[in-house]
């Protein structure tokens, strides 16, 4: 090849590569820096941040909002978190519904919408996630960051060659050192994600939380799905809630599972072991997470319809059923909200004198009827002091 030709090829390549760099960099930056708007609900008396409970987190990427909904009347203290795994949108959307709508008549509710904020600022290489998804509301569309299961490597680099869980010493895959639900109860001077967990444990301890709920979603191929996973301390509540919900509210049943004692780092195990709080974890089905899924896009994420996953179901490979209707986001968010409310109701029956009374949170049937977005308020109509950014 003549040197002139070579130079032309090199120049052309350079132009193409620089263009690709600029386009992708803009897109990555827009995603990482995008701010989701949250309108603090009527019962939100204070919005702290994670850093208020553990100084080193202050003003870092991990410094998420902590919404405190206080009735002013003594009662139980519940702490609900969404966004442990930001690739599971029903989790943060359900937490947001609580923060924007719940009115507390007794006791206190603490909500974190984006528990692992860093993981919500990145999408997983090789998995082709959409960067954003939008939820239709009564006043327009609301846009959200799609995230990953793991903390952004820009915030936690490098990974060890094997992750040894603190304090159990259980060995886990290297990237799980960035998995917020493998790093409980956290470590004060540990890795980035361990410190975030540590900060959350400080909230649980300082606020004297009675019951902790961690919202999740799971692939249909995974045995732990449509269920409440409960620490020993929460078994009765979970069993009762699952039976009542299956009887009274849900079309497809919700079961319960015991938190295995030998699987470490998960909230349902470690929060229960290392604090006085009862720890529960809720799972809803998210076909988007299945390895056999088809086209990866926002439709699949929100509508939960996928012919490939359906086919796997026909072969008896799934632990949850799926048909042409899929698992839409309304159903998934509805199940989380109703399960949280049912847990509160059963807690109240079991703990007379120390109740928590949560009103105005939509239940399963209402969310399916009205859509998730119906419960998000228009920030344009709100006082600026009620608006927060995630």
């Amino acid at each position: 090849m003549s040197s002139k030709k070579l130079i032309i090829i090199k120049l052309l390549t350079a132009v193409l590569i620089i263009t690709a760099l600029v386009i992708s960099a803009r897109s990555f930056l827009a995603h990482r820096n995008y701010k989701e708007t949250v309108v603090a609900g009527p019962s939100v008396t204070e919005v702290k941040t994670l850093g208020d409970y553990f100084e080193p987190i202050k003003n870092t990427v991990a410094d998420c909002n902590i919404y405190i909904l206080d009735s002013g009347k003594p009662g139980a203290i519940f702490f609900v978190i969404g966004g442990t795994h930001p690739e599971e949108p029903a989790a943060n959307l359900s937490a947001e519904i609580l923060a924007e709508n719940a009115t507390l008549e007794k006791g206190k509710l603490i909500v974190a919408i984006r528990a692992n904020r860093s993981a919500s600022t990145v999408t997983r290489p090789g998995d082709a996630y959409p960067q954003f998804y939008t939820i239709k509301t009564d006043w327009g569309e609301k846009k959200y960051r799609m995230g990953d299961r793991w903390t952004n490597p820009l915030d936690s680099w490098p990974d060890p060659e094997v992750y040894v869980h603190y304090p159990s010493k259980q060995m886990l895959a290297y990237m799980d050192i960035r998995n917020f639900n493998r790093t409980w109860p956290g470590k004060k001077d540990g890795s980035f994600t361990e410190q975030v967990n540590y900060a959350f444990m400080q909230i649980i301890k300082q606020e004297k939380v009675d019951l902790f709920i961690d919202f999740h979603e799971a692939e249909l191929e995974y045995p732990v799905i449509s269920t409440i996973v409960a620490h020993e301390s929460g078994r009765n509540i979970a069993a009762m809630a699952s039976m009542m919900l299956t009887d009274m509210e849900f079309e497809k049943p919700i079961s319960m599972e015991f938190s295995p004692k030998s699987l470490h780092g998960l909230s349902h195990r470690e929060v229960g072991d290392y604090s006085d709080a009862i720890s529960l974890l809720f799972e809803t089905p998210e076909p988007f997470l299945d390895r056999v899924r088809g086209i990866t896009d926002e439709h699949l994420l929100l509508e939960g319809k996928d012919p490939f996953v359906q086919r796997a179901g026909e072969f008896g490979l799934l632990y949850e059923t799926i048909d042409e209707d899929g698992w839409p986001i309304e159903v998934r968010v509805g199940r989380h909200c109703s399960t949280a409310l049912m847990v509160a109701q059963i807690w109240n029956q079991m703990n007379p004198g120390k109740e928590i009374k949560i009103k105005n949170v939509p239940k399963y049937a209402e969310i399916i009827k009205n859509g998730v977005g119906h419960y998000f308020k228009n920030p344009a109509n709100m006082d600026s002091d009620r608006i927060y950014y995630e």
């Binding site: 590569i17 960099a25 990555f28 680099w157």
Partner: protein, 54 residues
């Protein structure tokens, strides 16, 4: 521990930068058009990581 972690993290950016530098030099020096194209693709993640974009 915090300072040590920062130093470690910084050293990874340095490693990335060094690799990117060598790749860039190779792109300029190579006489093979295919190599030039391939190296240009390879350098992309290194540049975005060094700039802390991805």
């Amino acid at each position: 521990m915090g300072i040590i972690n920062s130093i470690i993290e910084f050293s990874y950016y340095l490693i990335s930068a060094f690799i990117a530098f060598i790749l860039l030099r190779e792109i300029v020096k190579t006489k093979d058009a295919q190599e030039a194209v391939l190296y240009s693709v390879i350098i992309i993640p290194f540049i975005l990581r060094i700039l802390r974009i991805k």
